[in-house]
Amino acid sequence: MRIIKQELAARNSGWSSQIARGQVLRLSARTIIDFVAFASNDYRNCFDQALTKEANRCIYLKRGHSMISRSGQRMLTVVDDGFEGLGTHDMQFGMCSRARHERSAAEGRLAEYLHADLKVPSHGCAENLTAACKPWGIPYVDIPSPVNLFQNMLIDQATGVMRRTQIRPEAPVDIDLVAEENLLVAFSACPDKASRTGGLEVRATILQP
Protein backbone atom coordinates (compact mmCIF):
# COMPACT_ATOMS: atom_id res chain seq x y z
CA MET A 1 0.00 0.00 0.00
CA ARG A 2 1.17 3.52 -0.86
CA ILE A 3 1.41 6.09 1.93
CA ILE A 4 -0.79 9.12 1.15
CA LYS A 5 -0.21 10.88 4.44
CA GLN A 6 1.50 10.17 7.74
CA GLU A 7 1.22 12.41 10.79
CA LEU A 8 1.93 12.19 14.49
CA ALA A 9 -0.65 13.50 16.96
CA ALA A 10 1.03 14.48 20.23
CA ARG A 11 -0.23 13.25 23.59
CA ASN A 12 -3.54 14.94 24.51
CA SER A 13 -4.11 16.53 21.12
CA GLY A 14 -6.56 16.10 18.26
CA TRP A 15 -6.20 15.23 14.59
CA SER A 16 -8.51 15.20 11.58
CA SER A 17 -8.35 14.46 7.87
CA GLN A 18 -10.46 13.69 4.86
CA ILE A 19 -10.11 10.12 3.61
CA ALA A 20 -11.35 8.74 0.30
CA ARG A 21 -13.42 5.63 -0.11
CA GLY A 22 -11.17 2.58 -0.38
CA GLN A 23 -8.26 4.15 1.46
CA VAL A 24 -7.06 2.63 4.72
CA LEU A 25 -6.60 4.57 7.95
CA ARG A 26 -3.90 3.02 10.11
CA LEU A 27 -3.77 4.24 13.72
CA SER A 28 -0.67 3.13 15.61
CA ALA A 29 -0.59 3.57 19.35
CA ARG A 30 -0.35 2.07 22.79
CA THR A 31 -2.80 4.55 24.27
CA ILE A 32 -6.54 5.31 24.19
CA ILE A 33 -7.81 6.98 21.01
CA ASP A 34 -11.27 8.58 20.89
CA PHE A 35 -12.15 8.13 17.21
CA VAL A 36 -15.09 9.56 15.20
CA ALA A 37 -16.09 9.87 11.53
CA PHE A 38 -18.45 12.00 9.45
CA ALA A 39 -19.73 11.52 5.90
CA SER A 40 -17.84 14.05 3.74
CA ASN A 41 -21.01 15.04 1.90
CA ASP A 42 -23.02 15.67 5.09
CA TYR A 43 -21.31 16.06 8.43
CA ARG A 44 -24.67 15.58 10.19
CA ASN A 45 -24.40 11.96 9.06
CA CYS A 46 -21.82 10.96 11.64
CA PHE A 47 -20.66 7.80 13.39
CA ASP A 48 -23.20 6.37 15.80
CA GLN A 49 -22.31 4.04 18.70
CA ALA A 50 -25.85 2.67 19.05
CA LEU A 51 -26.38 1.81 15.39
CA THR A 52 -22.88 0.31 15.22
CA LYS A 53 -23.57 -1.99 18.16
CA GLU A 54 -26.92 -2.82 16.62
CA ALA A 55 -25.47 -3.70 13.20
CA ASN A 56 -22.61 -5.79 14.58
CA ARG A 57 -24.76 -7.23 17.39
CA CYS A 58 -21.76 -6.60 19.61
CA ILE A 59 -20.90 -3.97 22.20
CA TYR A 60 -17.22 -4.04 21.17
CA LEU A 61 -15.73 -3.06 17.80
CA LYS A 62 -13.89 -6.06 16.39
CA ARG A 63 -12.08 -7.12 13.22
CA GLY A 64 -14.69 -7.49 10.46
CA HIS A 65 -17.08 -5.07 12.15
CA SER A 66 -18.14 -1.82 10.51
CA MET A 67 -18.65 1.58 12.05
CA ILE A 68 -22.17 2.71 11.14
CA SER A 69 -23.47 6.23 10.54
CA ARG A 70 -26.66 7.80 11.84
CA SER A 71 -28.35 7.08 8.53
CA GLY A 72 -27.32 3.42 8.76
CA GLN A 73 -24.46 3.40 6.22
CA ARG A 74 -21.16 1.59 6.70
CA MET A 75 -18.43 4.19 7.27
CA LEU A 76 -15.29 2.17 8.06
CA THR A 77 -14.56 -1.52 8.47
CA VAL A 78 -11.89 -2.91 10.78
CA VAL A 79 -9.59 -5.00 8.58
CA ASP A 80 -6.73 -5.52 11.01
CA ASP A 81 -6.57 -5.17 14.78
CA GLY A 82 -3.30 -5.42 16.72
CA PHE A 83 -5.25 -5.23 20.01
CA GLU A 84 -7.16 -8.44 19.28
CA GLY A 85 -6.57 -10.97 22.04
CA LEU A 86 -5.22 -8.28 24.38
CA GLY A 87 -8.34 -6.24 24.95
CA THR A 88 -11.47 -4.74 23.47
CA HIS A 89 -12.35 -1.37 21.95
CA ASP A 90 -15.04 0.44 23.96
CA MET A 91 -18.36 1.81 22.73
CA GLN A 92 -19.95 2.70 26.09
CA PHE A 93 -18.00 5.79 26.99
CA GLY A 94 -18.02 9.31 25.62
CA MET A 95 -15.09 11.70 25.62
CA CYS A 96 -13.19 12.80 28.69
CA SER A 97 -13.18 16.56 29.16
CA ARG A 98 -12.28 19.32 31.58
CA ALA A 99 -15.97 19.45 32.67
CA ARG A 100 -16.05 15.70 33.30
CA HIS A 101 -12.76 15.69 35.24
CA GLU A 102 -13.97 18.66 37.34
CA ARG A 103 -17.23 16.90 38.21
CA SER A 104 -15.27 13.77 39.16
CA ALA A 105 -12.95 15.83 41.37
CA ALA A 106 -15.90 17.64 43.02
CA GLU A 107 -17.59 14.31 43.75
CA GLY A 108 -14.39 12.65 45.00
CA ARG A 109 -14.47 10.11 42.18
CA LEU A 110 -11.07 10.71 40.55
CA ALA A 111 -9.84 7.35 41.85
CA GLU A 112 -12.08 5.66 39.28
CA TYR A 113 -9.50 6.77 36.72
CA LEU A 114 -6.98 4.56 38.58
CA HIS A 115 -4.32 7.28 38.64
CA ALA A 116 -5.86 10.00 40.77
CA ASP A 117 -2.34 11.19 41.54
CA LEU A 118 -1.84 12.35 37.96
CA LYS A 119 -2.52 16.06 37.66
CA VAL A 120 -6.03 16.71 36.27
CA PRO A 121 -5.38 17.64 32.64
CA SER A 122 -6.40 21.15 31.56
CA HIS A 123 -8.30 19.60 28.65
CA GLY A 124 -9.32 16.21 27.34
CA CYS A 125 -10.73 14.38 24.34
CA ALA A 126 -13.80 16.63 24.11
CA GLU A 127 -11.62 19.71 23.76
CA ASN A 128 -9.18 17.91 21.42
CA LEU A 129 -11.94 16.68 19.11
CA THR A 130 -13.67 20.08 19.21
CA ALA A 131 -10.43 21.72 18.04
CA ALA A 132 -9.86 19.01 15.41
CA CYS A 133 -13.42 19.42 14.05
CA LYS A 134 -13.49 23.22 14.19
CA PRO A 135 -11.96 23.75 10.70
CA TRP A 136 -14.85 21.70 9.32
CA GLY A 137 -17.48 23.78 11.15
CA ILE A 138 -18.61 20.99 13.48
CA PRO A 139 -19.34 22.12 17.08
CA TYR A 140 -18.86 19.90 20.14
CA VAL A 141 -22.57 19.11 20.52
CA ASP A 142 -22.57 17.58 17.03
CA ILE A 143 -19.47 15.44 17.56
CA PRO A 144 -20.78 11.94 18.29
CA SER A 145 -19.68 9.75 21.15
CA PRO A 146 -16.61 7.97 19.77
CA VAL A 147 -15.37 4.46 19.51
CA ASN A 148 -12.69 4.41 22.21
CA LEU A 149 -9.88 2.42 20.64
CA PHE A 150 -7.58 0.55 23.03
CA GLN A 151 -9.93 1.41 25.94
CA ASN A 152 -10.39 -1.95 27.61
CA MET A 153 -13.18 -1.96 30.20
CA LEU A 154 -13.97 -4.59 32.80
CA ILE A 155 -17.73 -5.10 32.92
CA ASP A 156 -19.47 -7.10 35.63
CA GLN A 157 -21.88 -9.54 33.99
CA ALA A 158 -24.39 -9.46 36.86
CA THR A 159 -24.44 -5.78 37.80
CA GLY A 160 -23.30 -4.10 34.57
CA VAL A 161 -20.80 -2.09 36.61
CA MET A 162 -17.86 -0.89 34.49
CA ARG A 163 -14.30 -0.41 35.63
CA ARG A 164 -11.35 1.01 33.75
CA THR A 165 -8.34 -1.24 33.27
CA GLN A 166 -4.67 -0.63 32.54
CA ILE A 167 -4.62 -3.11 29.69
CA ARG A 168 -2.83 -1.34 26.81
CA PRO A 169 -0.49 -2.63 24.11
CA GLU A 170 3.06 -2.73 25.47
CA ALA A 171 4.46 -1.35 22.24
CA PRO A 172 2.49 0.56 19.59
CA VAL A 173 0.17 -1.67 17.58
CA ASP A 174 -1.85 -0.91 14.45
CA ILE A 175 -5.55 -0.88 13.89
CA ASP A 176 -6.44 -0.67 10.18
CA LEU A 177 -9.82 0.63 9.04
CA VAL A 178 -10.87 0.78 5.40
CA ALA A 179 -13.09 3.72 4.43
CA GLU A 180 -16.37 2.56 2.89
CA GLU A 181 -17.29 6.14 1.90
CA ASN A 182 -15.56 9.50 1.51
CA LEU A 183 -15.19 10.59 5.11
CA LEU A 184 -13.89 13.15 7.52
CA VAL A 185 -12.13 11.22 10.27
CA ALA A 186 -10.99 12.71 13.58
CA PHE A 187 -9.48 11.49 16.82
CA SER A 188 -8.08 12.55 20.15
CA ALA A 189 -4.97 11.04 21.70
CA CYS A 190 -6.58 10.68 25.15
CA PRO A 191 -4.83 12.05 28.26
CA ASP A 192 -5.50 8.54 29.55
CA LYS A 193 -5.78 8.94 33.32
CA ALA A 194 -6.30 5.21 33.74
CA SER A 195 -2.81 4.54 32.44
CA ARG A 196 0.42 5.32 34.25
CA THR A 197 1.63 7.04 31.08
CA GLY A 198 -1.12 9.69 31.23
CA GLY A 199 -1.56 9.29 27.49
CA LEU A 200 0.85 8.99 24.59
CA GLU A 201 1.18 10.09 20.98
CA VAL A 202 -0.71 8.46 18.10
CA ARG A 203 0.58 7.95 14.55
CA ALA A 204 -2.01 8.27 11.80
CA THR A 205 -1.29 6.93 8.31
CA ILE A 206 -3.58 7.04 5.31
CA LEU A 207 -2.76 4.29 2.82
CA GLN A 208 -3.87 3.72 -0.76
CA PRO A 209 -4.19 0.00 -1.51
Binding site: E54, G94, T159, V161
Partner: protein, 189 residues
Protein backbone atom coordinates in the same frame (compact mmCIF):
# COMPACT_ATOMS: atom_id res chain seq x y z
CA UNK B 1 -49.40 14.86 43.83
CA UNK B 2 -51.53 16.62 41.24
CA UNK B 3 -51.23 15.57 37.66
CA UNK B 4 -51.25 18.46 35.21
CA UNK B 5 -50.62 16.54 32.03
CA UNK B 6 -51.76 13.12 31.03
CA UNK B 7 -50.94 11.66 27.65
CA UNK B 8 -52.00 8.35 26.15
CA UNK B 9 -49.91 6.96 23.30
CA UNK B 10 -51.20 4.54 20.67
CA UNK B 11 -48.69 2.15 19.03
CA UNK B 12 -45.73 4.01 17.41
CA UNK B 13 -47.25 7.32 18.49
CA UNK B 14 -45.02 10.03 19.91
CA UNK B 15 -45.50 13.05 22.10
CA UNK B 16 -43.35 15.86 23.50
CA UNK B 17 -43.89 18.24 26.40
CA UNK B 18 -42.06 20.51 28.79
CA UNK B 19 -41.20 19.68 32.40
CA UNK B 20 -39.87 21.97 35.09
CA UNK B 21 -37.02 20.94 37.39
CA UNK B 22 -38.48 18.99 40.31
CA UNK B 23 -41.50 17.66 38.45
CA UNK B 24 -41.76 13.92 37.95
CA UNK B 25 -42.93 11.87 34.99
CA UNK B 26 -44.59 8.49 35.37
CA UNK B 27 -44.48 6.28 32.29
CA UNK B 28 -46.83 3.33 32.54
CA UNK B 29 -46.51 0.80 29.74
CA UNK B 30 -46.63 -2.79 28.70
CA UNK B 31 -44.46 -2.19 25.64
CA UNK B 32 -41.25 -0.33 24.87
CA UNK B 33 -40.99 3.45 25.15
CA UNK B 34 -38.11 5.44 23.62
CA UNK B 35 -37.40 8.61 25.61
CA UNK B 36 -35.16 11.58 24.78
CA UNK B 37 -34.70 14.86 26.63
CA UNK B 38 -33.36 18.35 25.91
CA UNK B 39 -32.48 21.27 28.18
CA UNK B 40 -35.50 23.58 27.72
CA UNK B 41 -33.20 26.63 28.02
CA UNK B 42 -30.64 25.34 25.50
CA UNK B 43 -32.06 22.78 23.10
CA UNK B 44 -28.52 21.95 21.92
CA UNK B 45 -27.98 20.25 25.27
CA UNK B 46 -29.30 16.74 24.70
CA UNK B 47 -29.63 13.48 26.61
CA UNK B 48 -26.60 11.26 25.99
CA UNK B 49 -26.42 7.47 26.40
CA UNK B 50 -22.63 7.47 26.78
CA UNK B 51 -22.39 10.29 29.33
CA UNK B 52 -25.15 8.61 31.33
CA UNK B 53 -23.28 5.30 31.46
CA UNK B 54 -19.97 6.98 32.31
CA UNK B 55 -21.52 8.95 35.15
CA UNK B 56 -23.17 5.86 36.61
CA UNK B 57 -20.22 3.63 35.57
CA UNK B 58 -22.84 1.05 34.65
CA UNK B 59 -24.42 -0.40 31.51
CA UNK B 60 -27.91 0.28 32.80
CA UNK B 61 -29.96 2.30 35.26
CA UNK B 62 -30.80 1.48 38.85
CA UNK B 63 -32.90 3.42 41.37
CA UNK B 64 -31.26 6.76 42.09
CA UNK B 65 -29.18 6.71 38.89
CA UNK B 66 -29.21 9.78 36.70
CA UNK B 67 -29.73 10.47 33.02
CA UNK B 68 -26.99 12.83 31.84
CA UNK B 69 -26.61 15.32 29.01
CA UNK B 70 -23.73 15.52 26.55
CA UNK B 71 -22.64 18.61 28.51
CA UNK B 72 -22.21 16.52 31.69
CA UNK B 73 -25.26 17.84 33.54
CA UNK B 74 -27.90 15.68 35.27
CA UNK B 75 -31.22 15.76 33.42
CA UNK B 76 -33.37 13.19 35.25
CA UNK B 77 -33.19 10.76 38.20
CA UNK B 78 -34.79 7.32 38.41
CA UNK B 79 -37.09 7.44 41.46
CA UNK B 80 -39.25 4.37 40.86
CA UNK B 81 -38.82 1.38 38.56
CA UNK B 82 -41.56 -1.21 38.19
CA UNK B 83 -39.62 -2.93 35.39
CA UNK B 84 -36.79 -4.01 37.68
CA UNK B 85 -38.06 -7.58 38.27
CA UNK B 86 -38.38 -8.16 34.51
CA UNK B 87 -35.38 -6.61 32.82
CA UNK B 88 -33.08 -3.64 32.29
CA UNK B 89 -33.98 -0.51 30.34
CA UNK B 90 -31.71 -0.39 27.29
CA UNK B 91 -28.97 2.25 26.90
CA UNK B 92 -27.12 0.52 24.03
CA UNK B 93 -29.19 0.53 20.90
CA UNK B 94 -31.03 2.94 18.61
CA UNK B 95 -34.62 4.11 18.72
CA UNK B 96 -36.87 1.19 19.56
CA UNK B 97 -33.86 -0.88 20.67
CA UNK B 98 -32.62 -2.25 17.44
CA UNK B 99 -35.74 -3.29 15.61
CA UNK B 100 -34.97 -1.49 12.37
CA UNK B 101 -38.52 -2.08 11.14
CA UNK B 102 -39.80 0.15 13.90
CA UNK B 103 -36.89 2.47 14.64
CA UNK B 104 -37.60 4.57 11.54
CA UNK B 105 -41.26 4.92 12.52
CA UNK B 106 -40.34 5.79 16.10
CA UNK B 107 -37.77 8.38 14.98
CA UNK B 108 -40.44 9.88 12.72
CA UNK B 109 -42.86 10.08 15.67
CA UNK B 110 -40.23 11.76 17.85
CA UNK B 111 -39.35 14.20 15.05
CA UNK B 112 -43.02 15.12 14.54
CA UNK B 113 -43.50 15.56 18.28
CA UNK B 114 -40.42 17.81 18.49
CA UNK B 115 -41.26 19.91 15.40
CA UNK B 116 -42.88 22.48 17.72
CA UNK B 117 -39.40 23.13 19.20
CA UNK B 118 -37.74 23.09 15.74
CA UNK B 119 -35.58 20.09 16.65
CA UNK B 120 -34.70 18.20 13.44
CA UNK B 121 -34.28 14.43 13.20
CA UNK B 122 -30.46 14.54 13.16
CA UNK B 123 -30.45 16.43 16.48
CA UNK B 124 -32.51 13.79 18.26
CA UNK B 125 -30.11 11.71 20.36
CA UNK B 126 -30.20 7.96 20.74
CA UNK B 127 -32.73 7.33 23.51
CA UNK B 128 -33.31 5.60 26.77
CA UNK B 129 -35.25 2.58 25.55
CA UNK B 130 -37.49 2.07 28.56
CA UNK B 131 -39.00 -1.38 29.18
CA UNK B 132 -36.72 -2.83 26.47
CA UNK B 133 -34.20 -5.36 27.66
CA UNK B 134 -31.05 -6.67 26.01
CA UNK B 135 -28.92 -9.63 26.92
CA UNK B 136 -25.25 -8.70 26.87
CA UNK B 137 -22.37 -11.17 27.10
CA UNK B 138 -19.62 -8.98 28.54
CA UNK B 139 -16.87 -11.37 27.38
CA UNK B 140 -17.81 -11.82 23.72
CA UNK B 141 -19.71 -8.53 23.61
CA UNK B 142 -22.72 -10.21 21.98
CA UNK B 143 -25.88 -8.19 22.42
CA UNK B 144 -29.38 -9.54 21.80
CA UNK B 145 -32.63 -7.67 22.34
CA UNK B 146 -34.95 -9.76 24.53
CA UNK B 147 -38.63 -8.77 24.43
CA UNK B 148 -40.14 -8.92 27.90
CA UNK B 149 -43.75 -10.11 27.98
CA UNK B 150 -45.43 -8.04 30.69
CA UNK B 151 -48.81 -9.38 31.81
CA UNK B 152 -49.81 -5.94 33.06
CA UNK B 153 -48.43 -2.40 32.67
CA UNK B 154 -45.51 -1.31 34.86
CA UNK B 155 -44.38 2.20 35.74
CA UNK B 156 -41.05 4.01 35.48
CA UNK B 157 -40.87 7.30 37.39
CA UNK B 158 -38.23 9.93 36.54
CA UNK B 159 -37.65 13.26 38.27
CA UNK B 160 -36.54 16.24 36.18
CA UNK B 161 -33.27 17.74 37.40
CA UNK B 162 -33.47 20.72 35.03
CA UNK B 163 -36.19 22.36 32.92
CA UNK B 164 -36.67 19.94 30.06
CA UNK B 165 -38.31 19.24 26.76
CA UNK B 166 -39.05 15.51 26.81
CA UNK B 167 -40.16 13.38 23.87
CA UNK B 168 -41.45 9.81 24.06
CA UNK B 169 -42.62 7.27 21.50
CA UNK B 170 -44.18 3.85 21.83
CA UNK B 171 -42.32 0.83 20.38
CA UNK B 172 -44.63 -2.04 19.52
CA UNK B 173 -41.70 -4.31 18.64
CA UNK B 174 -40.59 -4.54 22.22
CA UNK B 175 -43.88 -5.87 23.50
CA UNK B 176 -45.20 -9.37 23.25
CA UNK B 177 -48.80 -9.59 22.12
CA UNK B 178 -51.49 -7.01 22.78
CA UNK B 179 -50.03 -4.19 24.81
CA UNK B 180 -52.04 -1.61 26.71
CA UNK B 181 -51.59 2.00 25.57
CA UNK B 182 -48.68 3.91 27.11
CA UNK B 183 -49.81 6.37 29.78
CA UNK B 184 -47.68 9.36 30.63
CA UNK B 185 -48.37 11.53 33.68
CA UNK B 186 -46.36 14.61 34.58
CA UNK B 187 -46.90 15.66 38.18
CA UNK B 188 -45.50 18.02 40.80
CA UNK B 189 -43.43 16.02 43.25
Amino acid sequence: MTSFAEIVLAPKEGSAFEMRAGQVIGITAQSGVSLVAFNARDLNERFDQARTKVYNMKLWLDLGDKLFSKLNNPMMTVVEDGFKPYGRHDLQLGHCAGDSADSAAVLRSLTQALAHWNIPAHSIPMPLNAFQSCEIDVVSGAITPVPVPLSSPVTLVLKAEMDLVVAVAECPAASAGNAAPVRIAVVES
